[in-house]
Amino acid sequence: MTIVAETTSSATELTMAAALNRALRDALADDERVLVFGEDVGRLGGVFRVTDGLADQFGEARVFDTPLAESGIVGTAIGMAMNGLRPVVEMQFDAFAYPAFEQVTSHLAKMRNRTHGHVQLPIVIRIPYGGGIGGVEHHCDSSEVYYAHTPGLRVVTPADAADAYSLLRQSIESPDPVVFLEPKRRYWNKQQVVPSRGDDLGRALVRRGGTDVTLIAYGGPVATALDAAEAAEQEGRSVEVIDLRSLAPFDDETVCASVRRTGRAVVVHEASGFCGYGAEVAAQISEQCFHYLEAPVLRVTGLDIPYPPPQLENHHLPSVDRILDTIDRLQWDESRPAED
């Protein structure tokens, strides 16, 4: 099988959905072992059009619709990967990946370890996740912790179009199985993208420098965090914003280096807070930066409720105001006694 060398490309304005489409297209072109399949990803091009045109270009043998069965999709992908292919499968929405949970936890995550490395499963499971698009129930779950807590899986989530391209390319090339979470409310955000693969899977990115407090976010809320940082700047607070990009493994180095400088940290995510990803981030910061912390690590997260209906989702999602309020609670006033 031939691997075509990467062609240098210039910047283009792309939405995240288009950047993902481009990544899939380039991966399909570069490596004939790559397959794309799932529900409605063929002729329709996916309900978010991320696979638009791929079936036409690469044929139904490589980009195809499956019967409606998520466990079936992941399970057959596992068999295909055992036989040398590199499936990139789509779960139509976050909550519709749950039927595949056993295949993901008991097989996908464990196969390499179980077989002493003989069998590897370079599979990417693409999952549009999270809310903010007025979706009805079961279409807006932030399910990252279910995967991040499962050893053997990589969990990756881009926050913008450029990362969407490069992280998806790297995920497809990864020898490890990757749960690739696409923040659906950013699908239509545009950006200048130089489609380049990069070589930083597993690393966080400092999106904005700052000295007073570190904001840690990923996926959909990264843009919110950047807006909050902008607003805080106006109020005279210098906020560093870190985009984690890789939830598993977690780049504690980048995060802790920042917090050791700023002395304060806030973690932001959409998923329910309780046992959410932010708990791990907060726990690691609290442990590794104990003597540097001027205030407890705080979390701005979704509420501990099932994802709410469209008309109420604004209360659930971390907002700029809620982030600013939380930053305000970071014990800036030396004279104020501790609240706890």
């Binding site: 529900e39 409605d40 063929g42 002729r43 329709l44 091009g45 309900v47 619709d65 499956t66 019967p67 409606l68 069965a69 998520e70 466990s71 079936g72 909550a95 519709f96 749950y98 039927p99 007025g134 979706g135 009805v136 129930e137 079961h138 279409h139 309780f274 509420l303 501990d304 409720i305 099932p306 709410p308 209906p309 469209p310 008309q311 109420l312 209360h315 659930h316 105001d321 809620r322």
Partner: protein
Amino acid sequence: MPSRTAATQAGTAAQGLLPTDVPISLIDADARACSDDDWKMPDELRLLKLYRGMVLGRRFDSQATALTKQGRLAVYPSARGQEASEIGAVLALRPHDWLFPTYRDSVAITARGVDPVEVLTLLRGSWHCGYDPYEHRVAPQCTPLATSALHAVGLAQAARMKGEDTVVLVMLGDGATSEGDTSEALNIAAVWNAPVVFFVQNNGYAISVPLAKQTAAPSLAHRGIGFGLPGLRVDGNDAAAVHACVSRAIERASAGGGPTLIESMTYRIEAHTNADDATRYRDQHEVEQWLARDPITRLRRYLLDRKLLDESKIDALDAEADTAAAQLRERMNADVPADPDELFKDVYAEPTTALRRQRAMIDAECRAGAA
């Protein structure tokens, strides 16, 4: 023990579980009565009820689609073209029976008596399930495909355990039959002999995916025999036939005969939802062929031919449907104040400390926002 005995039993038991070669039909596409010795035409009153239900259902459906264009509904999955299946099935239920509908079955739910505004709550986005499931014995509309088939089996079996004469009708799409849950439900229902009717509306597509990519079986009704329950196939655009099949399946279940699987052959005239573009994956020609098999026209012609209906009755019914639609439009135009306190109320029977704290935070934010 030895296999030949077992085999003979198997052969015998297999009798009656396979669907007929030709889907059951009582009124054909040309509105003529079909002769079928096994099935009886529903009586006049029933037929008129079916007609009325379909007319009201279609008007409701088109009104709902219109509401999406006005931004009053987030999304709406239309059942246009499937009225014979929706109404034929749901009108077979007795008051004590239960209906387990999907997102596509709003027409059936309203026909069961649920307030249409409550039905549309989910798609309007003010809450999830907008009605009290116990009031009309209608489960919440189910989105995670096939999952409700199991709930239906459980509810039906519980009714049997409690000595209640309750049959459960669960609606599924053709696509949903590929999910493991559907098969688990068929199997468990048959083992338990639960009073359930599995009603699969085979409308040809699961979003964009045609039936041929969904199954290689001779028919979906053939799935019954492998789980030990009878599979029937019915012309899903023939309200009389659907009604007859579902009625008999309900009688059978009620009499302790166990579950039935019914495949109702119909077609989704509109796109999957208003947000979908069906031209990407199917021919207009195909749609037109099915438009020619319209379930309402068909029953109307049949009833007109037999003078069970006349133009004035037709007009009166249309007017009734228009009035209902106008009322619905009006009521849906009223803004519903969504109360954030609701978010925390029913997560647990009693809100936890953490939820009380979170509610206080939201309350403070709302006050700050209002100030």
